[in-house]
């Protein structure tokens, strides 16, 4: 396999943009990315797009060539990947596979979602389609409900508290307030987080990520050619995607995402590093409990210790393991199909030293973890300065 590098990145702001359509968001991210790498559309050899539910949210199918064509990219494989909230993480995994195998050299990977044109109950219903519609969803489960049930069990088994969940939200808003591309740039207090409107008990509105519009893109190439495009290449040291059952009631232990720990093990092995070597991470905090579980499944802390670790401030910008320096899905926003590639962009900002007020002192090895559904798809990516 050939080593692969990220040679360009591009993101739109995440937010609610009533005057923007899905395609214009994806085109903006793609064009910013090509400009970052000084690459023209005619040099792109394949277009990999992550999108969860464009057909349901905006009624548009055949999205990959639809968007690629609008950027002047034609005559190449242009394909949409759907893996719930891990759609663009999956697109990235498959794009890296194609470059590593030597099938393509210059490949554009993007993610996009346009969610805010629907009402919240309708968005909730569309998102629930990532669950088992013949079982849990038919019974009335929403995604907040599934993660609320995960949180209840984690609290029962490990003594995790509401304050520990709230600490994740407070920290992510603290970071997101410093991110010019974040959806909700405001700090919140512990008291506010604890007294939020109930969504699905024990989760309040402050435990839930945002409903957002947005897009993100990265351009990849063989490492040996990276210097042709950029003097700041980022190396893809490890990437892995794994799966598990879709329905939460089919999983033996819902306090852990088996797909995440399996993907992490593979990615660590591929990169030749351990969890203790990782300096910072972007993890999939679709709900606060998911960040706590991610910190355990990725091996940053032992099982059951994710809550106290967050409450002690260990995952803040100043802590030993900064998590979600971007603000995470909680504050940065969660346009679901864009989230996986968005996380990769956020790692690259840190690795290149371009994270502004959020810039970390140690920024040479980062990890991204993207989750689909209640853990049926997981993608773990490890990036380093080449």
């Amino acid at each position: 396999m050939r080593p692969v590098a990220i040679i360009g990145i591009g993101k739109t702001a995440f937010g609610a943009f009533p005057d923007r359509d899905l395609r214009s968001l994806a085109v903006e991210a793609g064009e910013k990315c090509l400009a970052d790498a000084h690459v023209s559309p005619s040099q792109v050899e394949a277009y990999y797009l992550g999108n969860f539910a464009g057909p349901s949210f905006v009624g548009q199918n055949h999205l990959a060539p639809y968007i690629a064509g609008a950027m002047g990219i034609t005559g190449v494989p242009a394909t949409r990947f759907e893996a719930a909230c891990a759609s663009s993480g999956s697109a990235f995994y498959h794009a890296v596979s194609s470059v590593a195998a030597g099938l393509n050299d210059v490949v554009l990977v993007a993610g996009v979602e346009k969610m805010t044109s629907q009402t919240t109950p309708k968005v909730t219903e569309i998102l629930a389609g990532a669950g088992d519609t013949c079982g849990e969803v038919r019974a009335g489960a929403t995604f907040p409900a599934l993660f609320a049930m995960i949180a209840r069990r984690h609290m029962y088994q490990y003594g995790t508290t509401r304050e520990m969940l709230a600490a994740v939200a407070v920290k992510n808003h603290e970071n997101g307030a410093k991110n010019p591309l974040a959806h909700m740039r405001k700090v919140i207090t512990m008291d506010q987080a604890l007294k939020g409107k109930p969504i699905s008990e024990p989760l309040t509105v402050f435990d839930c990520s945002l409903i957002s519009d947005g897009a993100a893109a990265v351009l990849i190439a063989p490492l040996e050619r990276a210097a042709e495009f950029t003097d700041k290449p980022v190396k893809v040291l490890g990437v892995a995607q794994t799966s598990d059952y879709v329905a939460l009631d089919q999983k033996d232990d819902i306090t852990t995402f088996r797909a995440v720990s399996a993907a992490a093990e593979k990615a660590y092995k591929m990169a030749g590093v351990t969890a203790q070597d990782i300096q910072f991470a972007e993890v999939h905090d679709c709900f606060t409990i998911a960040e706590i579980i991610a910190s355990e499944d990725l091996g940053f802390v032992k099982k059951g210790e994710g809550g106290p670790y967050a409450l002690a401030g260990c995952t803040r910008l100043t802590g030993p393991m900064p998590i979600n320096t971007s603000g995470g899905l909680k504050s940065k926003g969660h346009p679901v199909g864009a989230t996986g590639v968005g996380q990769i962009c956020d790692l690259v900002y840190q690795l290149r030293g371009e994270a502004g007020e959020r810039q970390l002192a140690r920024h040479s090895l980062g990890l991204a973890q993207n989750l689909g559904g209640s853990g049926a798809t997981a993608v773990v990516t490890i990036l380093g300065i080449a």
């Binding site: 109950p121 009335g140 699905s200």
Partner: protein, 68 residues
């Protein structure tokens, strides 16, 4: 009659479009005595993890349980 133990539960306040009229409602994953788990609605009194529940009835394909 099926019975089981509550493995986990939640009370849903923000419902999907088709269940807005039912909210708030309690949802639970029940570990069945006969083996396996099932996601079901709880009728009546709220339950917590570890409670024993009995199958009540099926309403429009949704299994309902209640506290034993």
């Amino acid at each position: 009659m099926k019975s089981g133990i509550v493995y986990t539960e939640t009370v849903v306040h923000a419902a999907p479009e088709q269940f807005v009229a039912d909210a708030p409602y309690q949802l639970a994953i029940v570990s069945l005595g006969e083996g396996g788990r099932l996601t079901a609605r709880i009728d009546g009194e709220r339950v917590v993890i570890g409670d024993r529940v009995d199958f009540l009835e099926d309403r429009n394909g949704i299994p309902f349980f209640r506290k034993a």
